[in-house]
């Protein structure tokens, strides 16, 4: 149980990291909304651009129910904010953040990939460190070659099928 709690904290931290670093400059909807903006994501007309300072125009209300309250003293304006659904490589993550007293007090997961039992463990730590590249052909001047070569099962199955075909024809 203790492990599960630790895992949950790591998961939350990773998701928060994702949430915060989501690019906010896109003109298309739905827009990613960083936590620092006082804009509930589903508010449409009149919303200041994502990334606006917390002291900007008060928004008309939070989509998820809890309206922003009196001016807060912290970095963020009080309210409940729903983030965009972010493709986090292994699936989609969407969180809802609750700000109270100017501070982030709660994060709820609205969407989380959990198709496999191993997902939480895997997803909580690995994603930010993976890098990608397009395949490019290299010099074939190597000592040894690693690949999924034909091994026992495929080889013999294929051979067996070929032989039985041969026998029937």
């Amino acid at each position: 149980m203790k492990k599960a709690i630790i895992a949950a904290v790591v998961v939350a931290a990773s998701a928060l990291y994702l949430f915060i670093r989501t690019p906010a400059a896109s003109a298309t909807q739905p827009q990613p909304v960083p936590i620092s903006a006082n804009v509930p994501s589903t508010t449409s007309a009149g919303a200041p651009p994502a990334g606006a300072s917390p002291s900007g125009t008060p928004s008309s209300g939070a989509a998820s129910g809890s309206a922003p309250t009196a001016p807060s003293s912290g970095q963020y304006k009080d309210g409940t904010y729903t983030g965009p659904s972010v493709n986090a490589y292994w699936g989609y993550v969407q969180v809802r953040a609750t700000v109270s007293g100017g501070k982030l007090v709660h994060i709820a997961f609205l969407q989380y990939p959990n198709g496999h039992s191993a997902s939480q463990y895997i997803n909580s730590q690995a994603m930010p460190y993976l890098t990608q590249e397009a395949l490019s052909v290299q010099s074939a001047n190597v000592n040894i070659i690693s690949g999924a070569t034909m091994t026992s099962m495929g080889f013999r199955q294929s051979l067996g099928a070929a032989l039985s075909k041969a026998a029937n024809s």
């Binding site: 895997i122 730590q125 190597v142 000592n143 040894i144 070659i145 999924a148 091994t151």
Partner: protein, 251 residues
Amino acid sequence: MRAARLIMGMPIEIEIVGEGESIRAALEDAFAYFTRVDEEFSTYKESSAISRIDRGELSLEEATEEMRHVFALAKAAKEETKGYFDIRRPDGHLDPSGIVKGWAIEEAAAHITAEGFKDFFVNAGGDIASSGHNADGEPWSVGIKNPFAQEEIVKVVYPRGRGIATSGSYVRGAHIYDPHDPEHPLDEVKSVTVIAPSVMRADMLATAAFAMGREGIAFLEGLPEVEGYQIDTTMTATMTSGFGRFMQSHA
């Protein structure tokens, strides 16, 4: 001196740097070892110990020490990979080939080392144990095959004594399945190459990571001393954070 044989239904290639009768004999010993392993662990031979265990004619307690060792390794692998690595197929039959290959490569390499050779490699079906340097005194270089064009190499790595193994679907069809969802086709990932402290571990983890689909590479990232290179159907490679250091010939 380099030689190759077709044993266990796969090409096995061994090079021991140098020339002479002692090297020739060591190569023959290694091939003979693989043939012995095949006799005991082949699921295609009705008389093999593994086939007799599968049919319930032989208990694990009556089997050889080696057989019990392989079963213990398989059990640990299943636990570590949360069931993604399993020697029991969906049809209920035993198929330990996924762990026997890596284990046999490692044993063969240990025998060659015990005979006093430092510079060699053993490559069984694309899974490789290597030691020391090649004939030019350079670290052994390993090319990762392009799963879309098998005559091409898309990455060159230097395992520097670690094991390296690749699992993929491009030759053997759907020979690897998701044990949690056997009907689900594994078509998003074409191949996963793993570098690990031992070739047995690399082989087992490559098999498990491939069965996990796109999550496989993230699973590898979370393991200490393990690096992976995953190629997907968009011809994009995703690699773990420490993989880059094996792309240089010197550490």
